[in-house]
Amino acid sequence: MGRHTALHQSLRNLPQRCLRPMAVLCLAAMACATVGWTGASSAADTQHIKIGYLHGPLSKEKISLIDIPAPNEGLAGAQLAIDDNNTTGRFLGQQFELIDSEIKAGDDPAAAVNALADQGAAFIATSLPAAQLLKAADAGKARGEILINGGAPDERLREQDCRANVIHVAPTRYMLADGLAQYLIVKKWRRWFLVSGSHETDKLFAEALRHAATRFGAKIVAEKEFKDTGGARRTDSGIAEVQRQMIDLTQDAPDYDVLVAADESEVFAGYLPYRTWLPRPVAGSAGLVPTSWNAAFDQWGALQLQNRFKKKFQRFMTPLDMQIWTAVRIVGEAASHANTSDAAKLFAYIKSPDFSIAAFKGQKLTLRDWNLQLRQPILLFDGRNTVSISPQEGFLHQVSELDTLGLDRPETKCKLQ
């Protein structure tokens, strides 16, 4: 009796994902037998599509305890997208499977890419730093692998170092900076005080903010660097020290409307709000932050995705979760419309003008054909709520208003090959 109950319990506790294949087969058989336009397909020729998720370790170096990532950040987005793909796939005789692959920081990803190719995953969603991503793309090229970058915001991956087998879902630093800048211009907060960190990624974001200021007519009235000398983040009894430090950092600037911080490394920006010498709002890496997603976003049906995510993982959905969800959904969406599991045909469809993906942003998202970057609105998040969504009204473009965010076709250095 005891054993019986235990077995029953363990069956109940099986993740939905494990039970699904059975259901998929029955339903697919049912659907295909009756749906005219899926033609002669039957359960026997269900299309199987494997998608890899290749990622490095998550950084736990965060200023706020709240921001320390859950161990499955990113992966959870991939898993939910696989569920969603399969719910749709069961009506079309398509079955999706995820293969998770984690590598260490700095490792050569070639072996992992080859292993995914050997297992039959032609599409690989990635969350890797730029250098590792390029190595992965080049290793995958010979095997016909297609990467979908859901993590790296670097312009160079879409510009001089672009690759023909890499689709980009993550917004670039320029897109994020432009989305923020448009709003600051609308608010008439044109005088910026730019404070940037001393790490490479901080410098790249600072450069994106400078570019955005020039593009939209803001003026950087002062610039300052915050040197990471170690030990700046959370420490016991650090509050009083930080308060004094932030006053020192901000007190000798000429008058400005908004402090714009570039601190991807999470060394200081989180300490700026309410601690600046002058009472001014903070934006960029803290305060008003441009992102692809936030856990409070509920427009355009997003509430349904948030609910689905929370029900499955018992936590909030982060920008990385959303970017990886979108990466995996792109493959599912292409498979529904192109009605194939052939990777080359799916990739051709994704690159065609017919392709678009709905990602709860109120409009269809499409790829820039010159560098395979996903066009997307940028959410401005105050840590609690979505303050605004860019592009802002009045920022016009002859092709798509979404192309007012990030480098545009005439400026591109990308030659896809």
């Binding site: 969603d84 719910t87 029900k311 409009q363």
Partner: protein, 327 residues
Amino acid sequence: MIDTRVIGHLGLTVLLLASTPAPGFAYTAYVSNEKGNSVSVIDTDTMATVATIKTGERPRGIEASHDGKFVFVAAGDDNTIQIIDTATRKIVGELPSGPDPEQFALDPAGKFVYVANEDDAAVTVIDLETRKAVAKVPVGVEPEGIAVSPDGKFAVCTSETTSMAHFIDTADRKVVANVLLGSRPRAAAFKADGSELWITSEVGGGLSIVDPATHTVKTVVHFEIPGLRSEKIQPVGINITHDGKYGFIHLGPSNRVAVVDGTTHQVVKYLLVGQRVWHGAFTPDGKYLLAANGLSNDVSVIDVAGLKVIKSIQVGELPWGIAMGPK
């Protein structure tokens, strides 16, 4: 730009308040107020709100029984469909809708209710007589719109992330056909003769005209309004006149209802209504269409023959949908 529109709308309202609608129709309209947690009762003779009925949390989908004795309203946050007795205007029971009900539809015989369970990828079938759920049919991700064919043979459910319309055989309660649509399909409605199925798409930005016999998309109607950004034009509710001559498509935050020719599928006219127009209902004589404007907390009255807005009626907070019953 927004200011001018608002002023325009208000001006129109003030102007039209002075004119009285033609007398001689006596129906009752029930408006679900999503934020007010209530149903406003409108007497269509006087075109005024005459009562407010408290409901459960977040009432959205609303339908009347065919005999007019009951109004059913989906209280999403309470995970139930409440039953209002139209004679006493009291809640007299509920239907086991499954989680977070939004849109639902009655079959022509008035025997079964089909409910889209948004968070559950399923359609729940409820027997109205026993008030019990008799089946749960798995559909695509985020089921939203639902409609039953005039012959009662099929219930059609749209799923937003899957981007399909699923045809459910009402006898077997199984999905028998699927149609791939523009992104994020919303509401669905059949022509009264069953010849066409109309489905709005939020992100696809259009209206798909589907042939229910062959399960194919015949054409897609697109909406463009000069001076408005495309994401402000979100097609939602559909009301097709009984003779199939016109379809009225509620275009959400564009504050317009589009009039689509039922034969040529061309947009004939855009009617300026209140803010964020969502769903509507015809008076049973077909003379008037009432449209719920979520953000302006009112209902626009459209003269169907004249294709013009003749009045607006104040209701509760965030009106979502409308059901029509006898007086």
